[in-house]
């Protein structure tokens, strides 16, 4: 007992259990061992006390972005939250992501994100360049590569108050993850969307709701990949949209052209 006491202890957990019809926080007391993460504890609950406790997980190494949930009210990956970051006396509250419809227990319906993913026009390959003929410099791909580190855990989508606090904005707003995708494509050195008549800078605001973002940076705060979503993707995208939409010369030019067209 004496040796075990230092490495193992009983922790208090409140885990949200329920489904679309309702539910609530359930209390659990569960063993915690040295070096464990919150996901281990959830698994121990499954194996010993609540075999049907639903939780989504996959790689357990912070690389797939499946086990997103909220711990003590903060959006986190269950597999990347070490128990040692909490005191032994603390009661941990684990709830599902609160911006998305719940399926059961800790599992939510993240379909919103897949819908939004489809709305962003894909990479447009350049005409006249075959496979193997692409030449891109490292400094030109650096920016988009940072955004492609995204593991699609959707923690940024969950924490963003634009949709978290305002369900009605879900239609108009793509969320940080997919605005970042627009930025990634707009910065891709060989994306030929513009040549095909698609102005990503403009659609960012007109179709994906860039204007809803008030750059309060919660997306950057929760990103487990430490991508500088706001500074490197959203703000540059806003500036690019300004180039298109709020530059008086361009605006004037468009006005005149439209008049001659009509």
């Amino acid at each position: 007992m004496s040796t075990a006491a230092s490495t193992s202890y009983e922790a208090h957990f409140k885990v949200w259990r329920g489904d679309t019809d309702g539910g609530g926080l359930e209390d659990f007391t569960v063993e915690v061992n040295d070096g464990e993460v919150v996901l281990d504890i959830i698994h121990r609950l499954q194996a010993t006390q609540a075999p049907d406790l639903a939780v989504r997980w996959n790689c357990k190494a912070g690389k797939c972005g499946s086990c997103s949930a909220e711990i003590n009210g903060r959006p986190r990956l269950l597999c990347m939250t070490r128990m040692s970051t909490f005191s032994r006396e603390e009661t941990l509250t684990v709830t599902p992501l609160r911006a998305f419809p719940v399926v059961r227990d800790l599992v939510t319906d993240v379909g919103f994100n897949y819908t939004k993913a489809r709305e962003v026009t894909s990479f447009v390959p350049p005409q006249g360049l075959g496979p193997g003929e692409y030449r891109m410099m490292q400094e030109d791909v650096d920016r988009s590569q940072e955004f492609r580190k995204c593991i699609e855990c959707f923690l940024c989508q969950d924490t963003c108050h634009v949709v978290r606090d305002h369900e009605e904005n879900k239609g108009a707003f793509a969320g940080p993850r997919f605005l970042m995708r627009v930025a990634e494509l707009d910065m891709h050195p060989l994306d030929a969307a513009a040549e095909e008549g698609l102005d990503r800078k403009k659609t960012a605001q007109d179709e994906h709701g860039l204007g809803y973002c008030n750059i309060t940076k919660c997306c950057t705060e929760v990103c487990p990949e430490h991508i500088k979503i706001t500074d490197n993707a959203l703000i540059p995208l806003k500036e690019r949209a300004v180039d298109r939409k709020y530059d008086p010369l361009v605006w004037l030019g468009n006005k005149i052209r439209r008049r001659t067209e009509s």
């Binding site: 949200w16 309702g22 998305f100 969950d158 634009v162 204007g211 309060t216 540059p236 300004v242």
Partner: protein
Amino acid sequence: MRGAGRAAIAAPHLRTDRWWLQPAATAAGLLAFIVYSTWRAFANADYYAAPYVSPFYSPCLAENCEPMKGGPNWEIFGSWWGLSPALLILIFPLGFRLTCYYYRKAYYRGFWASPPACAVAEPHKKYSGETKFPLIFQNMHRYFFYAAVPVAGILTYDTVLAFRDEDYAWGHMGLGTLVFLVNIVLIWAYTLSCHSCRHIVGGKLKHFSKHPVRYRMWQWIGKLNARHMLLAWASLISVALADFYVYLVASGVFDDPRFF
């Protein structure tokens, strides 16, 4: 926090840490500056103590400005302007900071609680972000940046003038000179670390490899930009301190200690 089919949790948030501390501190800091700067801007007094001019009053653009030898006081607005000349010029740095991407975050969170902190529900029923009047004008940030550059230039000129003594003889330095030096470095660092500046310098390019000089500048500004928040606060405090220093000397609380 209510939405179709979401987990039935009534609490607006379940955070157990002191999440309110940061917005509260931000709001307190900004409020303190607003109170101080309003008082000083309307005071129309104690802003010049040769060779130092308060950054709030430079350039001084009306006839009612105190005479400053060699200083940036051009009577563009003539004699009809009866209010404090600070109001004429403060518009620009104020607009620059008001539309700044960092300050926007700070006051949206601190004053408007939109959101107060991450994953803490905001108290507003509706939210349209920066899509409508008046917030759509936040997109004007870059034009304020353009204006902020000459203002910073003039403050640099003021700092050069600060290398005189109270009789306008060159080659002297006092504690005030040092305060001005620190302030102007921070003002420039804040101005150049601006997100719009980063965009204009190189961020708008698709191919860095074709613009090596602009790429290097973009990288350098990127490094500064990573500290934009820190620089925003540091320069806010330093500009207030510089003004306060001038006030103390001008109102005769103490004499500027001269080094040489």
